[in-house]
């Protein structure tokens, strides 16, 4: 029986039929999706913090409005994704609990600090850019609610990327101080942003199954290469450089070669030792704990109001 369902399920996947929440699915498929979608949702929410840092310091009112709208978009992405995960039978509160207790992960990129205004440009360009590279294929994810959430998310992410690029373009045409501010930010964010695609394929054990289930469509290394190829061209338009002396066009491969990634740093950050892991988690926990009385008040009020309404009706 189990085997038949499993075979039937895989057959649907192979024929590109979307899986919907009420459909039968293997428990491991459900768990993998919950893990991936909630991680993704947490990344959106934690990702608000490094950029949120600069809302009050944005250098013009126009930039302030754009940045505020962008960070608000990320909150919206979190919302769509939490909702998509909830269709798999987990509540938002449970997911928060996993985040706050450190059991759930989020994208390690957000554990790096935003030190200058140029970081806001670089995050839009590289971090949202890498996110798009990862997420566009997810619009065809086999799980319906996830795929649909990603369609909405991707539209906004490409705006973010253009805005980030535009910040850098403005800096590149600015003063010497602005140009070095931008180059410095690129130097700091480049390596962490190419780590966003995750470990090398041979060290990414879950990938094979995820590809078979069409939760994932491309391998980490494929996406990373694609991103590097695109970015190596874009940086020329900006007149800046990427901090990798081994970055070279390889005619035979039709791709850019790149230098060795410091995977030790990657695993250290994942394990909680990045420059801002503690602050990020503390900020989220603080918001949640200090919001406790607000949520309690709102639900107490709703209860009272419903009671009053039923009394009136009776």
């Amino acid at each position: 029986m189990e085997k038949t369902s499993e075979a039937f399920f895989q057959d649907k996947i192979d024929r590109e039929i979307r899986i919907e929440p009420k459909d039968w699915m293997p428990e491991k498929y459900r768990q993998t999706l919950i893990r991936q979608i909630s991680q993704h949702a947490h990344s959106e929410i934690i990702g608000m913090l490094p950029e949120g840092n600069w809302i009050t310091r944005a250098p013009s009112l126009r930039r302030k409005a754009i940045l505020l709208a962008k960070v608000q978009d990320e909150a919206g992405h979190g919302l769509y994704l939490y909702s998509a995960a909830e269709t798999l039978g987990i509540s938002r509160d449970e997911m928060y609990e996993q985040l706050h207790s450190g059991r759930a992960k989020y994208s390690s990129i957000f554990n790096y600090p935003t030190l200058s205004w140029a970081d806001i440009g670089v995050i839009g360009w590289l971090v949202d850019g890498a996110a798009i590279m990862n997420q566009v294929p997810l619009c065809r994810s086999s799980f319906g609610p996830y795929a649909r959430a990603m369609v909405r998310v991707c539209k906004e992410e490409s705006f973010h990327q253009r805005q980030g690029f535009e910040i850098l373009l403005t800096l590149s045409r600015g003063t010497e101080a602005q140009r070095s501010m931008a180059q410095d930010a690129i130097n700091r964010w480049w390596w962490p942003s190419i780590m966003m695609f995750g470990p090398k394929d041979d060290e990414s054990p879950n990938s094979v199954q995820s590809m078979k289930w069409k939760i994932k469509r491309f391998s980490n290394d494929e996406l990373r290469q694609k991103f590097i190829d695109v970015t190596a061209e874009q940086v020329k338009v900006l007149g800046f450089t990427l901090p990798d002396p081994n970055l070279k066009w390889n005619k035979a491969r039709g791709h850019y070669d790149y230098g060795a990634i410091n995977w030790d740093e990657f695993w250290q950050v994942i394990q909680g030792n990045g420059p801002c892991n503690k602050e990020r988690l503390e900020a989220r926990k603080k918001a949640w704990e200090e919001g406790e009385w607000v949520r309690a008040a709102a639900s107490a009020y709703t209860t009272k109001k419903n009671k009053r309404n039923t009394t009136v009706a009776a």
């Binding site: 809302i55 126009r62 608000q72 009385w293 607000v294 949520r295």
Partner: protein, 246 residues
């Protein structure tokens, strides 16, 4: 109203929106519920937008008549007005610059202030000043929502739990003394505002404080200590890298 008065009024409208918008934006990423985080960021965005419109109108006015007032960077722009004036030159009401405090102070401040804006913009949209009419009309739509959103919170907190009731009462005690400054001249406005506040307070189980001392000074540039810190943060890049394009 002569041009100087008109200019000062525009600055007051713009500064109010910018500074309360700045405070609202501080919540972005730190709200008590994700949906409310989005809501208050949205309100912040509306305010920044209003500030920009009023600053642009003010800039046009002073650029047309640069002799009008001294001490402004010319030609004026929305950014020169927001980023290159010091706190003595800001014309916002004190209530907008107070720290956010908790969610009770935050939402009550937005309620008290946006209710004031609601009636003020209602007047301004039909006033003789064409540059202000259109801005006020658009802003009125936004502010209508701000009033509703914040009034809902004041009621929820007032009629929620014991703790939320205690906190919102404390917020009333704290903020009330900053509401007098909103009505130095316009008394009809004050009546309308008071009625609205009364209505919402009743539903929230709150009482309007007895006559108390009212702080004032914002519109003449005598601010609390808080504004200086807001500006230090907000203006940092423009001050550290003068004359740059961003």
């Amino acid at each position: 109203m002569n041009k100087t008065q008109q200019f000062n009024q525009l600055l007051n409208l713009a500064d109010n929106a910018l500074i309360i918008g700045h405070r609202c934006s501080e919540w972005c990423g730190h709200g008590p519920v994700l949906e409310q985080d989005i809501a208050i960021s949205n309100i912040a965005l509306d305010y920044i937008g209003q500030a920009r419109n009023f600053y642009q109108a003010a800039a046009t006015l002073i650029n047309e008549d640069p002799e009008m007032l001294t001490g402004f960077v010319l030609p004026a722009t929305e950014d020169s007005l927001a980023y290159l004036r010091d706190q003595r030159e800001f014309r916002n009401h004190l209530i907008t610059e107070l720290p956010n405090g908790d969610w009770a102070v935050t939402t009550l401040r937005i309620f008290l202030f946006s209710a004031y804006q609601y009636f003020l913009y209602t007047q301004l949209k039909d006033s003789g000043d064409l540059s202000v009419n259109a801005i006020a009309e658009k802003a009125l739509k936004e502010v209508t929502y701000h009033v509703k959103w914040s009034a809902d919170w004041v009621i929820r907190l007032g009629d929620g739990t014991e703790e939320s009731n205690r906190r919102i009462r404390h917020a009333v005690d704290h903020l009330w003394a900053y509401t007098g400054e909103l009505f130095l001249q316009e008394s009809e406005l004050q009546q309308q505002w008071l009625q609205k506040v009364q209505l919402v307070f009743e539903e929230a189980g709150l009482v309007i404080p007895e006559k108390t001392w009212m702080h004032q000074g914002g519109t003449s540039g005598n601010h609390t200590e808080h504004l200086g810190f807001i500006l230090a943060e907000m203006q940092f890049l423009q001050r550290a890298y003068p004359g740059s394009q961003w």
